[in-house]
Amino acid sequence: MAVENTILICAGGACISAGEESVKSVLEEELRKYAIDDVVKVVETGCMGSCNLGPIMVIYPEGVFYQKLKPQDAKEIVEEHLLKGRPVQRLLYKGPTGEIKPKAKEELPFFTRQVKVATRNLGVIDPINIEEYIANDGYFALEKVLQMTPEDLIEEIKTSGLRGRGGAGFPTGLKWEFTRKSKSDEKYVICNADEGDPGAFMDRSVLEGDPHTVLEGMEIAGYAIGAHHGYIYVRAEYPLAIERLEIAISQAHEYGFLGEHIFGTDFSFDVELRIGAGAFVCGEETALIQSVEGKRGQPVQKPPFPAQKGVWSKPTVINNVETLANIPVIINKGAEWFASMGTEKSKGTKVFALAGKINNAGLVEVPMGTTLRELIFDIGGGIPNGKKFKAVQTGGPSGGCIPAEYLDTPVDYDSLMKLGTIMGSGGMVVMDEDTCMVDVARFFLQFTTDESCGKCTPCREGTKKMLGILNKIVEGKGEMKDIDRLENLAKTIKDTALCGLGQTAPNPVLSTLRYFRDEYEAHIKEKRCPAKSCKSLIAYKVDPNKCVGCTACARACPVGAISGEIKKVHKVDQDACIKCGSCYEVCRFDAIEKIDAVDLVTSS
């Protein structure tokens, strides 16, 4: 009998950890029980992008989108939806306001505002079935380029305007051209799948949901530059990506897309995985090359660039996962089509991972030039709990924060650069009024300090010094001179560090100083944290007018800092309080106040 329903169930990392596997097993059990397992096809896909709603299931032909599923929900879906044709209202996607949104996946604004190129197959195909990749035009681009000259192919990529999606935004066609022109008997292609930015998961999602597109992109790069070997450098923390890549590589061999005489031509290509230990600096291209060679992953001086002397001292193209995922589509649909999207100097689309204080956290792909406001409010659904937007951080530890007045900035490489941040790999962390910007800078600097490989002094010592000053400031021990010290250190590190890690490490500090200097000053001069977030500068106290003496706070306090009798006003012992905030959370009468510690003396 023909298949009547297809159920796509997201088997991306986030959904798996949310319990996708048990949902799926109950689903399959129920389908068998009602003997409809031959007419209902269950397919596991890659990340669908709305990871905070996981586990997710989409039932076709209608495209009904079910979210936050528990195993027993699968039973109800089978009995109600599949057998009786009644979508289960309770499990449909509800917007931030709680109203039931259009039930079909294609109608949710989160999906309709997106233009998917690099992530075109995510959540659509079964990543371990090569034929589904082929059905969506997979390996057609490879076949096509093998009929072209490498020079024409490079010209096509140059015309498309594609720039590297791994951070720096270097034009991909140019990079390929340089490497093609380097004379050598052997050349290499490396796919940078290290993805070290905290919170980023764009590349992981592509590897897990559409591994073949990365292989096809690498092969096309290989044909362009004259290479026959490729490495994918992927971190050990991505076991699912590794597993799917291994399956993809072996299927590609079986179908003749890897190996010798590809499509009956003289072109041969092979791909090997290299598993990295997950140090942030190993994503930097020269350190990555060291690591591929089995050496310690430390950056080395450029030039020579990898295009001249890369892995095994041979000319090497190193491209990011997302960059490579764009290649087959550019070949199939043409450079002009790709260049018709985006802004003057940033063509095509970009994948972003929306995170932080945002309703629809997850993965989105939009044309370059989409404004931050569209991204955060239209697609991302705005800020939860009616809080105010304060800033958005882009570019991870190498980037900076953008305040509300620039929400209408079109997102592309150059406009973000002008605002003192970078596109980076596409991480976007949204911050609301409760976020302390000094603490944000401190968080990222803590990260880079920990991740500095230690090879060069400015990065090793300089970041430590900056971190020390930031720690002083958030503890209320800063002086105004510290701001100048931060700025001087930042400048020195930027100018003298060996690799991109050090050169960009000061960015989070510089950009928060640029837009939120008043917050630094409030910490230093008034010993106040305007967001009431820095523990050393706040205090919790009981408002005697509101406290009814229910004792909830006293019971919640882990250190017994709250005393008081039933039905009498309670009191916080400030010396014992560790500022965990538990009392603030549990009080149902709003009687616990979070105040600036400096106001404690005067108010009590």
Partner: protein, 124 residues
């Protein structure tokens, strides 16, 4: 199986597309023909053929035609369910070839509900 040519690649694409076409949803609406045992013996196959043929003749390509199992309305077979957009589905009974073509021309194309053969509104 090593693939050596564009033709071979194209073949796999088409074969797989047919297998996964059930996921197609960018349609304005759908027509479901009950193809359970009783439906088929009452002539549902001819009904289905007529619907597909009429849709093609009228160049309507934004409607999915789906076969379903028994809808539980065996006494009025062949049954056809029409659902356009968010509207409540409408179920017609005793749909022979002629009525099938009427459904396409009147309901699908003009939005007119054919009360003379209407069995039920809403889901079964």
């Amino acid at each position: 199986m090593k693939i050596k040519s564009l033709e071979e690649l194209q073949k796999i694409k088409e074969k797989t597309l047919r297998e996964i076409s059930g996921r197609e949803t960018n349609k304005r609406g759908r027509i479901v023909v009950g193809m359970g045992t009783c439906g088929i013996s009452a002539g549902a196959k001819d009904t289905l053929r007529a619907i597909a043929d009429e849709l093609e003749k009228q160049s309507v390509d934004d409607i999915a035609v789906i076969q379903s199992g028994c809808m539980g309305l065996c006494e009025v077979e062949p049954t056809v369910e029409v659902q356009i957009g968010d509207e409540e589905p409408v179920i017609y009974g005793h749909v022979d070839e002629k009525q099938a073509r009427r459904i396409v021309r009147e309901h699908v194309m003009k939005g007119k509900i054919l009360s003379d053969i209407l069995v039920k509104r809403g889901k079964v």
